[in-house]
């Protein structure tokens, strides 16, 4: 059938009990939480027992204290950086999706755009950031947004093109037997088939966008941005402060990732009961 391995037998009417998903999900969250906690404990104990100097690796407790102590400033810096990441993510993802739609529609464009995309997409940020600073100004948000958008654009483009082409031949034949116009094939079949691919790319892009924004700030940017903070704190040998900034950024990246995962569940209600990974 349409999902060969995933449907072992008739389970008609076996709608999962309400809340079953929640239980499963919290069970799913337990493992990474335990792992994270375990790492923190080992880290703390190791630093104390081995007498590692804080310059090399501060203990988690010291980092936590720094976060709490400096919270307003950290939150402000994270927002300055996060703003660039968010804007760049939205522009890059939206542009990548639209370009993917266009590329899948016109074969010559697809053949041209994907290879070029791969080349541009593999440009290192260390090269693009100074260029965009030159173009948009180092003290403009748009130079950071451009770096992020470029990093996000190509995974979304490539996955959109792959996703739109992923609809099974039999489904395409079915619509052909109805003499369905191209637009209907796109909306009724290709876009729904592409969504898992697109969201896969968005998850990756969410993490990339924060990294790209921070790195872009290393090449000049607002004095109250997280990237600038990390740079100056490192220069002043305040490694605990630098670590605290990284923690705040991670929290932002996690939130963005979570928002994408949430959007994914809303956009694809038919995949909500996660029966394993079906991509």
């Amino acid at each position: 059938m349409t999902t060969p391995a995933a449907t072992p037998a008739a389970v008609a009417g076996a709608a999962p009990a309400p809340g079953a998903g929640l239980v499963r999900r919290s069970a799913g969250a337990a493992a990474p939480l335990a792992l994270g906690l375990g790492v923190l404990v080992v880290w703390e104990v190791a630093v104390r027992a081995l007498g590692i100097r804080p310059i090399l690796l501060p203990p988690p407790s010291a980092i936590a204290a720094a976060v709490v102590q400096d919270l307003p400033r950290l939150a402000g810096a994270t927002w300055v950086t996060g703003r660039s990441a968010l804007l760049g993510f939205a522009i890059g993802a939206g542009g990548g999706f639209l370009a993917g739609l266009a590329a899948s529609r016109w074969r010559p464009l697809r053949e041209a755009v994907v290879p070029v995309g791969v080349v541009l997409g593999s440009l290192p940020i260390v090269a693009t950031a100074p260029i965009f600073n030159l173009w948009f100004g180092a003290l403009s948000i748009w130079s950071k947004v451009a770096v992020v958008a470029l990093v996000v654009f190509f995974p979304v483009l490539v996955n959109t093109v792959a996703g739109l082409a992923s609809a099974p031949a039999s489904s395409q034949e079915l619509l052909r037997s109805y003499a369905a116009p191209g637009r209907t094939v796109l909306t009724a079949l290709q876009i729904p088939s592409a969504l898992p691919f697109v969201f896969g790319a968005l998850r990756v892009a969410a993490a990339l966008s924060v990294i790209a924004a921070v790195v872009a700030e290393f090449f000049g940017g607002f004095r109250d941005s997280a990237g600038f903070f990390i740079k100056t704190l490192m220069a002043n040998a305040d490694y605990t402060g630098a670590w605290a900034t990284v923690v705040a950024l991670s929290a932002f990246g996690l939130a963005l990732f979570g928002a994408v995962a949430l959007a994914e569940r809303v956009a694809m209600p038919w995949r909500r009961d996660d029966r394993g990974v079906r991509t």
């Binding site: 059938m1 995933a6 449907t7 037997s177 694809m268 038919w270």
Partner: protein
């Protein structure tokens, strides 16, 4: 009833007007490889014709040519009196594939509504028709579930409901029960005949199961191994309606034997 002149034997199905499906010298080559030798065949209104042959004999290709999903290399195809392309664009047939080909992002009800949506029906009418079709295949109670929650047999019944939703005069079925276990398969066959008794739909049915072809059909077109050609068209004179007793009827076994022997001649000439 033995082989005879294929074209002549085949054309007996219709008095000459052309029938719901009329094939004249239809063949298909893939490059230099012939997949289908020239085939002529008529399907009369209300008939249930099975195309039976070994794997790779081109019977699915022939069905796809009728559906205008594959271009024939030569010959003419008429469906409901029109060229195949025009018939497809007018939605003169419904098609059921070997895989149910349901869309997971739609509920069962909205899967059945799909062709009606493509045809621009209004929502209320779509819904009413889908409801009626789901009742016809006995699945009204799962209308709001999604395809992965249904068994293979149930999914295929949804596909049949979807194919019949716009009441086409012709139903094209490409090994629709091939992936099902024997008992489910027999239940689906009974169900298909019951539906047809109510709708009067003409059916062109591809299978490689001899008992299935004999049980369902008003005539069985036996095809040779690749490149496929029609060895014989064997009329099935079993009493109607076909029931569980039909499967035990001595005449049923006779016909199965006859079809099998014809088939064998085609495999080892």
């Amino acid at each position: 009833m033995s082989a005879g002149e294929p074209a002549l034997a085949a054309s007996r199905a219709d008095a000459g007007v052309g029938g719901v499906v009329a094939l004249r010298g239809v063949s298909k080559d893939y490059g230099a490889t012939p997949a289908l030798a020239p085939v002529s065949l008529d399907v009369a209104p209300g008939a249930f014709v099975s195309l039976l042959g070994p794997s790779g004999c081109g019977k699915s290709t022939l069905l796809r040519i009728v559906a205008d999903l594959v271009e024939p290399s030569a010959g003419s195809v008429t469906v409901a009196g029109r060229p195949a392309r025009e018939a497809r664009e007018r939605r003169d047939y419904g098609m059921v594939f070997q895989a149910a080909t349901l869309f997971d992002w739609r509920t069962i009800r909205r899967n059945v509504e799909l062709p009606l949506e493509v045809m621009g029906w209004r929502a209320a009418e779509r819904r009413a028709r889908a409801q009626r079709m789901l009742e016809l295949v006995d699945l009204a109670d799962v209308a709001d579930l999604r395809p992965p929650q249904l068994s293979g047999g149930m999914q295929q019944r949804v596909a049949i409901a979807r194919a019949l939703a716009f009441e086409p005069a012709l139903l094209l079925m490409d090994e629709p029960f091939g992936a099902l276990d024997e008992l489910t398969r027999e239940r689906m066959q009974d169900g298909l005949l019951a539906i047809r008794a109510r709708t009067g739909t003409t059916v062109l049915f591809v299978t490689h199961s001899i008992p299935e072809a004999v049980f369902l059909s008003s005539s069985v077109v036996v095809m040779s191994a690749r490149p496929g050609r029609v060895l014989a068209e064997i009329p099935v004179d079993l009493p109607e309606p076909r029931t569980e007793d039909t499967r035990e009827d001595p005449r049923f076994f006779q016909l199965v034997t006859e079809v099998r022997e014809t088939l064998r001649r085609g495999v080892r000439p």
